[in-house]
């Protein structure tokens, strides 16, 4: 390979891949259109295409390792001092490489789905392969014509590369993007199965069952990617939080919301053959949002802290998204007659209706996030005015919606499928509601004593009635959230208890009963465990209401007290490696008695290739009750005096713990039952001792990958300590300052979207001093905000005003949600009426086929024993 012209060879392989994918798609379509003998050919073509993408990835990886700076992408994202593992991670560090990485993951999925499809779903299979190839073709066209990772410099080749952005030089870079991409790309498979079902008209439960495992895998990886993204933000961006509602974060959150709605609503289709159009819509929307998310991430259309890679590939995505919308809409309209529901909802008090409400909240949240994310763009197009929608807006609106969703996670398990009577439901809810109320009472009585007061100080994002209502909702949110968490935990606990009691009545011991309960109902109990994980995560989110923050300049030996902690600054220390210089500041945590309680060492890294971008690495001491988050803002080498910002973040660790529980629940839920694995093996019936089970292999592989990524992430989160932030200081003296600073964005030019209550740059510091002087001279905060808007434009405010077109930002999603809930209730009632009529007809048709009944009983016994 060294003798080869690597850039040319790489481009050649990409071209070959495009040809191979196009050929495979054509052959697969031929197989789908009545030439079944072409199916094996299409399968082989798929394997060939996947292999060619592997070649392309290896060529680029090789170019990185041998520093082939003729390739522009290699020169821009690596340099000679980088260790081999960052050179590997650089593959997806920039735009062009991440597109290749996307194609590589798609091929990984395609390879396994092709293996899995062998001998089954033969009518769907050709169209599944053709759809997957069509997605790959889009990415190949994108790379060959707009973002070729093997493109070379026209004139001179640099002697050394520019190096990877220091923000990306950490272990998160190795695990966060791949897991998120695994989640994004994973939705291509259920989408391909859906398209196959639409084209062939096989729209019963067949495609739903075929897509189930793959949608669970995609959802699990997307959840893992989001969780690792939170960890990355918390540890690496170093602003003290884990979720900033950045457009790129939102881009990955939106498919998760819709995917979650799909996973719930598809259960109704599986059981009741209802909501077929809705499920097709949800799955198609989830896939569409993954493409839309990539478009947002890569086009640079909306300002983002993730702007590590941008270009003009946006137009290609726009065309592709337009094609997707037209194609999906056309297929859905064509197949509408086959998508008619076979049944109707029997009662509004049923699990089905609880899932409808869950879908309503999840889609409502998605619409909120979508409108808020794209509002700056819409405002620019409609009225030519740039605006910004900061985290404050999202936090105020998402918290109440999140709590409603959490409540439904507890309510759903209590309601029976099809029909629950009011008295039965009331009895089922008594204990969980009692626990929720008891926790609320305990918090009201004793919460403040332990640092968790039930009501926190209200902060307004608008000076209007809406602002006041939102402020009070967020002020009581901790009380409501903890009570709801208790309600959900009690509800899920009660489900386990009731299930165990039922099995114990059949003569099983308690341990056996629990084991068999879970093993016989993995999907159901896996789902419940996911709900428990979400409760733990909500406990962590609620802890943010009690954050305490302080900043102080210290000399070695001096201490600062914050919360119940005292932190002593010991000494600065310098270290170096070939890539960077590192200035650490050793600090000791002291308990109330003055005894040493742990060490932390926040630092500043100065990279050889980016000396103008010194980064600040935070140190975190994590405990279940709280995290001590230490940022070294500045240190003077001559006097050794340092400035430190310390944040006490209660309950953050519960987010990571909840995330792990959620992943375990998801894995349990998607683990194929013994029967499925046996059927897989029996279907192949090979004459050898070991029988390969594709379903088992796929899930095992997914679990191994997810576990490695999760372990790496969490292990790192426990240990350390490195994090990155532009240096500076943030001083906030009172709630008025906090509320006002949170509404004003830094305008230095480098800190897009960071509000003054977070931004630590010099410009922000000067502006805070200026605003503080105005406040102390008696100027109203609203006047200061208005003059800031006049001076820097509407985009300088973190949240648009609550008047005129700006009001559409919340009025449109709220209106849509009100309209949707009205429709959900109306449709539910109409279905219910029809169901009563249909039921009457069905009971007339029923006959007594005793033989079939006894066969059914035998089958049920077999299921129980399996």
């Amino acid at each position: 390979m060294p003798a080869l012209d690597i850039p040319f060879f790489g481009t050649l392989v990409l071209s070959l891949t495009l040809i191979s994918a196009s050929y495979t798609m054509a052959v697969a379509i031929g197989a789908g259109r009545g030439r079944p003998h072409l199916l094996p050919s299409a399968r082989l073509g798929t394997y060939a295409t996947c292999a060619l993408v592997v070649v392309a990835v290896c060529v680029l990886a090789y170019a990185f390792q041998v520093h082939d700076f003729r390739i522009r992408y290699v020169a821009r994202y690596s340099d000679r001092s980088m260790p081999w593992w960052y050179l590997v991670a650089s593959l997806w560090g920039g735009q062009d490489g991440s597109l290749l990485w996307w194609a590589f993951l798609l091929c990984g999925y395609t390879f396994f789905v092709t293996r899995w499809l062998r001998g089954r779903y033969t009518e769907l299979q050709p169209w599944v392969l053709a759809t997957l190839m069509s997605i790959l073709i889009f990415f190949m066209v994108l790379m060959l014509f707009a973002a070729n990772p093997f493109a070379t410099y026209i004139r001179t080749t640099p002697g050394d590369g520019e190096g990877l952005n220091p923000l990306l030089q950490n272990y998160w870079m190795a695990i966060h993007p791949p897991s998120l991409y695994m989640g994004f790309v994973g939705w291509s498979v259920p989408f391909a199965i859906l398209i196959a079902a639409l084209i062939t008209g096989r729209l019963g439960n067949e495609w739903v069952r075929a897509a189930r495992l793959w949608s669970m895998i995609a959802w699990t990886f997307l959840s893992l990617g989001l969780l690792l993204g939170c960890l990355w933000s918390y540890e690496e961006l170093g602003w003290g939080g884990y979720w900033a509602w950045d457009p790129v974060e939102n881009a990955s959150f939106m498919p998760w919301l819709v995917g979650t709605a799909y996973l719930h609503s598809v259960l109704i289709q599986e059981r009741r053959h209802m909501m077929k159009v809705w499920n097709v819509f949800l799955l198609a929307l989830t896939f569409f949002l993954t493409i839309f998310g990539t478009f947002l991430t890569r086009s640079g259309l909306i300002a983002s802290v993730h702007s590590f890679a941008r270009s003009d590939i946006g137009q290609y995505f726009v065309w592709y998204m337009a094609f997707l919308i037209i194609a999906i809409a056309a297929l859905m309209i064509w197949r509408l007659p086959k998508l008619k529901a076979d049944n109707e909802i029997e009662s509004l008090v049923s699990r089905e209706f609880a899932f409808l409400l869950n879908n309503w909240v999840l889609l409502g949240m998605m619409v909120f996030v979508l409108i808020a994310t794209t509002f700056p763009l819409l405002s620019q197009w409609v009225r030519g005015e740039e605006v910004t929608v900061g985290p404050g807006f999202y936090n105020k609106w998402m918290v109440p919606l999140g709590i409603v969703l959490l409540f439904l996670a507890g309510l759903g398990p209590l309601v029976a499928w099809r029909k629950a009577t009011g008295s039965k439901l009331a009895r089922a809810m008594a204990f969980p509601l009692g626990v929720g109320v008891a926790v609320a009472l305990l918090q009201v009585l004793f919460g403040a004593r332990f640092g968790y007061p039930p009501v926190v100080e209200p902060t307004e994002i608008y000076d209007t009635t809406t602002g006041t209502v939102l402020a009070w909702m967020s002020a009581v949110a901790p009380l409501v959230s903890f009570a709801t968490c208790a309600f959900v935990l009690a509800s899920v606990g009660q489900e386990f208890w009731r299930g165990m009691r039922v099995r114990m009545r059949r003569g099983e011991g308690a341990g056996t009963a629990v084991f068999r309960l879970v093993s016989k109902g993995r999907r159901r109990y896996g789902g419940y465990i996911v709900h428990i994980g979400i409760v733990f995560m909500f406990i962590g989110f609620t802890g943010a209401a009690y954050d305490v923050e302080q900043e102080k300049a210290l000399r070695p030996g001096e201490t600062m007290a914050i919360g119940k902690h005292t932190v002593r600054y010991d000494q600065p220390r310098m270290e170096a490696d070939p890539n960077k210089r590192m200035i650490f500041t050793d600090m000791t945590l002291l308990d109330a008695s003055g005894a040493e309680n742990g060490q932390v060492a926040p630092a500043k890294f100065i990279y050889r290739t980016h000396p103008q971008m010194p980064t600040t690495e935070v140190a975190i001491r994590s405990r279940p009750s709280e995290d001590v988050y230490v940022i070294m803002s500045t240190v003077d080498p001559s006097t050794r005096r340092g400035t430190f910002r310390i944040i006490i973040r209660p309950l953050v660790a519960w987010i990571w713990f909840g995330g792990i529980v959620l992943l375990l629940g998801a894995i349990l839920g998607m683990w194929p039952t013994g029967g499925e694995i046996v059927r897989d093996a029996a279907a192949r019936a090979r004459p050898r001792r070991f029988r390969f089970s594709p379903a088992g292999a796929i899930v095992t592989l997914a679990i191994v990958l997810a576990s490695v990524m999760a372990w790496a992430g969490v292990a790192a989160a426990q240990d350390d300590t490195s994090s990155t932030l532009h240096a500076g200081t943030v001083v906030i003296n009172n709630p008025t300052e906090r509320q006002l600073f949170a509404r004003l964005l830094c305008q230095c030019g480098d800190c897009a979207r960071l509000p003054l209550d977070t931004c630590a740059c010099g410009w922000a510091d000067d502006k805070r001093v200026e605003v503080r002087e105005l406040l102390s001279s008696g100027v109203e905060p609203s006047t200061i905000q208005e003059s800031y808007r006049v001076q820097y434009g509407a985009k300088a405010l973190a949240i648009p005003s609550d008047k005129g077109l700006d009001r559409a930002l919340w009025a449109v999603p709220v209106g849509a949600m009100i309209l949707a809930i009205g429709m959900v209730v109306l449709i539910g009632r109409r279905w219910q009426r029809r169901s009563v009529e249909a039921h009457a007809e069905a009971s007339v048709r029923t006959n007594d086929e005793l033989e079939y009944d006894s066969r059914l009983d035998e089958e049920l016994e077999r299921m129980e024993d399996a």
Binding site: L38, R418, T421
Partner: protein, 121 residues
Amino acid sequence: MAELLPWLFVIIAVAAMLGGLASLWLSLTLALSDEVPGVARADLTSDARLALLTEKEALLQEIRDIAFEHDAGKLSDLDYEQINAKLRAEARHVLHELDAGAEGFRDQAEALIAEKLGEAQ
């Protein structure tokens, strides 16, 4: 590791390239021949039956679930009886269709066996 890694990528690339080109060649050969592999044809005929089996399994699962929910106290006796009767009626219908479909399936299987035997002779 840093020295070995480039060669590891070279080895994987060469293996993938050989595998890919071989698969492509085989795929082209198969596509251009008129041979209809029996397996592919047999697979096609089983799809309808697979759908019925899937349906049967879903119904059995649901019958089991509502019995469980009734035992756990979530469903009243009257609701349980009504829903159970309805689900059993649907399941009986699916079993009936499976039985009816098996006849045709057997004919097709016999035809394929005869075809294979004919090829062997």
